[in-house]
Symmetry: C4
Subunit: 123 residues, 4 copies
């Protein structure tokens, strides 16, 4: 079983959509790229932490067996959307071992900037 069941992304910030706002692939966004390499579907629960209020969530997503999900934070609406231009952090818990990488695309000034890192995993 490859992976861990708890993951943390301390750096969260969805910039202004930027100059490519009409293009989902090119407008500013953040993603948690999740791999479930196992043979059991994984049920994931996200909690979003902020600077000055209690956490939001739980947000629930499924990553089926042998599938990857590149989860965009600007696609999360239930129980509430994640505001742009706001510092946040996320904890993701899974019923099955998974592996998670964090990526941001920042298109505020026209050209693209990218960052990515493996998230912090624990069991």
């Amino acid at each position: 079983m490859l992976g861990k069941t708890r993951w943390v992304i301390p750096e969260g910030y969805i910039p202004d959509a930027g100059s490519h706002a009409d293009n989902p692939a090119l407008r500013s966004h953040e993603a948690a790229c999740i791999l479930n390499a196992g043979d059991q579907d994984a049920q994931l629960t996200l909690t979003i932490y902020f600077t000055d209020r209690e956490p939001a969530g739980p947000y629930r997503v499924e990553v089926p067996a042998r599938r990857t999900l590149h989860l965009r934070f600007d696609d999360l609406y239930d129980p509430e959307p994640i505001p742009r231009k706001t510092d946040y952090a996320s904890v993701i818990e899974s019923t099955q071992p998974v592996i998670i990488q964090h990526t941001r695309l920042d298109a505020r000034t026209g050209e693209l900037a990218l960052l990515s890192t493996l998230a912090y995993g624990e069991d």
Copy 2:
């Protein structure tokens, strides 16, 4: 023996080739940079995971003893090429301990954007 035998890169996405499509070094691409610092040749097997279909592979590559291989995902053709503009993730298994780092160059808008992270390793 430095390294681990199983590695995961959850974030995979090969953007449009972009404005430098004729230049292999500057067109958009992703790479798994692999170091085999040991004295035995390493046989590696890649499996590529997708959002909505069964995994592709195995892809097979060798990294000789005391060598590095910067493996470009757009150079993988057997058993099938990895489509551009498609979310994927990869698991790499090796007969010898290796160390793997993931890098993307995104040239879609003309200027370059880069991301990189150490992959997730386990034995």
Copy 3:
């Protein structure tokens, strides 16, 4: 209890403020993004290391229970500001387990460049 109590960011460098110097969100900066997912407030102590002088600090910050703090290094003034255009590194110790990610925004040439990585954690 999710996280670790000691973290290291070896790469520190605050570039020139750049072409967006009047906009705090867009001028060049570095941040340590810290999540305290626990139920106890965390007291953190930063020590800043340099190339050719003794370390500066301690700098003290608090991250309350269930909160994230995206700590900008250009907001640290006590006991002394961190100079721009100077190589440094940081060690962050916490009374409670936390998770830390390092991010830099470089706006020197007009467009943005970003880098990020999980910091190095130990107990």
Copy 4:
């Protein structure tokens, strides 16, 4: 004692110096950012691995107690310079525990692109 004594950076590539070739801070380069937070000077040995030849080295550097060294790979000359536009990887061994982060600045197309990741550490 914070850190580990063996570190690996699998992804090495020094791009063309680019449009800021006269400015050491802005021309394309790679660095291994090393922190020695301990009270003993650390003696480090670098070995550089290539795709199609035997490794180069050892390169030797010292990181004094309580100091950081942002070591640029384009400043390594002894026993031989590291060629630009060539895939390489590096292993760094230290007499004392240290922590290492890898950064590249790519200025080939005029604007800057950055990547960074914690290196892979083992004892």
